[in-house]
Amino acid sequence: MHTEQTPHQGAHIISAKTLLATWGALMVLTGLTVAATWIDLGSDLNVVVAMVIATIKAILVALIFMHLLFDQKFNLIVFVVSVLTVVLFVSITFIDVSSYQPSIRAHESLEPNKPFLKAPAPDPASVQAQPHP
């Protein structure tokens, strides 16, 4: 922890070529992710594809634009630990909330169906926006 070099010797300067190449890759991936939605892979697989592409983009940004590839390892640890904590939070909450969904659905089907919102503008076309009967 105490052996870092001074900037002139050690700070990594990313070459212009690398920066431009990374940017190019990000643009290509953006095009790809838009194109992927034109193909019907089933709604689950489409989400997976979109997330995989987004994650590749995120990794590119983090490793190169954010210097994590060349930086002190501890910063990478901070980043990874934070991401893992988000994953932990989202996944545990997700597991619980999905497992009690039936009790919410039962309530919806048994209770008199109350609309969540007040009726919108009295326009015949907007009737479609009303809740199911």
């Binding site: 922890m1 105490h2 501890f74 630990v81 934070s82 904590t85 932990l88 939070f89 545990i92 909450t93 597991i95 619980d96 909330v97 497992s99 009690y100 009790s103 919410i104 969540f116 919102l117």
Partner: protein, 555 residues
């Protein structure tokens, strides 16, 4: 370092006398002055929260109305909880004692980001003002937990400022995060030569583990409160079932922070106890690595057990079972700490000065707090005890019996370093005894109340519970007197106490190697870091009633 150990040069300006005037305090970047300012404001919060507590306890003297109405009572316990949690317990040890001691323990001149440190203080002040003012003026009565959908329904209180209060707590969260960032960066990057991770004082390990929790958990509270405020102001609908939202989701969000927050409260306390037990036993701490790593283990496990607050909330039984199992894992690192403190005392040379008395009180009360935690971690028993006075008693044993005892222990321990004055041992002991009796008198009866079925947050109760409630109320007043005595002794000492030697206890952590109080720049010479728990290099000096470095053997 060897020949000129700490001359007690009283003519040299200290951090207290370096500059004068209110502005020199308000605009200071000196971590010591910021620590003292935090100490002042958190103590004021303790006083405020304590007054609310006494009002609550007075109301509960009789089953019906004693001194206030339903709504006033509901506001009082909300204010008590919110002030104590957000304004006192969470910042007290890290922001006040930690700010002062951490750089000194590392032998550096300041924390890594002094401006951020001052900013975090003012963020705290702003958050505190918003929180207290909005809660008081618009009468928030949701409890400090802000559970949706009560907190999002417009009927709450008399006005619509649950949102404003939530923003107050939101702002306070950032103060906590900034302090934590500062501590992690300082410990990581500024340890002196010779202080490897496993030569760090245990208080720093505890602060480090705490800071990790603060950085990773507090933002989730921030987003929760932000969503709550928006929900309230604009009808967002994520937590509100009337708009298709899910109130149990709010509890997941809330406890993801608020359970780890319990460890934000207790970990620094355990760090103080590790220091005090070792110094006052004058014996190397037993099982250093286990204690250090158990802090990290508690911080890690703290993120996995939040659902044990939700066993009866409508959480799925599957998750309840997983959370219960994980909850019991926390008992292992906690028990390790207690056993190691006892082993440290074994065959030591134990000096029952006030810091040590509070440390022993901590072990006594934390043992009860920890053991009663087992009742609440056990699923079927928790179903009976949840949201009763048993829970109230349990968390007060952990937070007051734990954190407050450790805070007092730490204050008495470092007071000579803070102000260069010794406190009155006799007065301090009277305070400690009153606090101990008052505390047990207040909260032990609540275990019985809870187990017999008395629910918490009740304004009126069945007459059968009155005897225990009265006992508890009497205890609360004794506790109040005890705390007033304890703080009175400290304040008196700060101004009128006997001059303190640089190292009154013979401790070997670096902060005792500089003058008491330290100069602005902390150290004359870069101090050496050795084993923080090796006391053999210090000998008692009757002249100063302190300890001095053993003269080096002249070759």
């Amino acid at each position: 370092m060897t020949a000129t150990t700490m001359p007690m040069d009283t003519s040299e300006p200290t951090y207290l006398t370096q500059a004068r005037g209110a502005l020199s305090w308000l605009l200071t970047l000196d971590h010591k002055r910021i620590g003292i300012m935090y100490l002042v404001v958190t103590s004021a919060s303790l006083f405020l929260g304590g007054v609310f507590a006494l009002l609550v306890r007075t109301e509960l003297l009789t089953p019906g109305e004693t001194i206030m109405t339903h709504d006033t009572y509901n506001r009082m316990f909300t204010l008590h909880g919110a002030v104590m949690v957000f304004l006192f317990i969470i910042p007290a040890i890290p922001a006040a004692i930690g700010n002062f001691v951490l750089p000194l323990m590392l032998g550096v001149k300041d924390v890594a980001f002094p401006r951020l440190n001052l900013a975090s203080f003012y963020v705290w002040v702003l958050g505190a003002l918003v929180l207290v003012a909005s809660m008081y003026m618009s009468a928030i009565d949701t409890g400090w937990t802000f559970y949706a959908p009560y907190s999002t329904s417009k009927a709450v209180g008399s006005a619509t400022s649950v949102g404003t209060s939530a923003m107050g707590a939101f702002i306070l969260g950032f103060s906590s995060i900034f302090t934590a960032i500062n501590f992690i960066a300082t410990i990581n990057k500024m340890r002196p030569l010779g202080m490897s991770w496993f030569k760090m004082p245990l208080f720093l390990w505890a602060l480090y583990a705490t800071a990790i929790i603060q950085v990773l958990a507090t933002p989730v509270l921030a987003i929760t409160l932000l969503l709550l405020a928006i929900e309230r102001a604009f009808g967002l609908g994520i937590f509100n079932p009337a708009l298709g939202g899910d109130p149990v989701l709010f509890q997941h969000f809330f406890w993801f922070y608020s359970h780890p927050a319990v460890y934000i409260m207790i970990l620094p306390a355990m760090g103080i106890i590790s220091e005090v037990v070792s110094v006052f036993s004058r014996k190397h701490i037993f099982g250093y690595k286990f204690i250090a790593l158990s802090s990290l283990a508690i911080a890690f496990l703290g993120f996995l057990v939040w659902g044990h607050h939700m066993f009866v909330s409508g959480q799925s039984p599957l998750m309840s079972i997983i959370f219960s199992a994980l909850t019991f894992t926390v008992s292992v690192p906690s028990a390790i700490k207690v056993f190691n403190w006892l082993a440290t005392m074994y065959k030591g040379s134990i000096w029952l000065a006030t810091p040590m008395i509070y440390a022993l009180a901590f072990i006594f009360l934390f043992a009860i707090g920890g053991l009663t935690g087992m009742f609440l971690g056990t699923l079927n028993v928790d179903v009976h005890l949840h949201d009763t006075y048993f829970v109230v008693a349990h968390f007060h044993y952990v937070m007051v019996g734990g954190t407050l005892m450790a805070l007092l222990s730490g204050l008495y321990y470092w007071w000579p370093k803070f102000f260069g004055r010794m406190y009155s041992e006799a007065g301090a002991r009277v305070g400690a005894v009153l606090v101990f009796i008052g505390f047990n008198g207040t909260f032990f009866p609540q275990f019985i109340l809870g187990s017999r079925g008395m629910p918490r947050r009740y304004y009126a109760y069945l007459p059968q519970y009155q005897g225990l409630h009265m006992l508890s109320t009497v205890g609360a007043f004794i506790l109040g007197i005890g705390l007033a005595t304890a703080f009175g002794v400290l304040v008196y000492a700060a101004f009128r106490g006997r001059r303190a030697p640089a190292n009154p206890w013979g401790a070997n952590t670096i902060e005792w190697q500089t003058a008491s109080p330290p100069p602005s720049y902390n150290f004359h010479d870069q101090p050496e870091a050795g084993d923080p728990y090796d006391f053999e290099g210090w000998v008692y000096d009757a002249g100063t009633d302190g300890y001095v470095k053993k003269p080096a053997v002249v070759a």
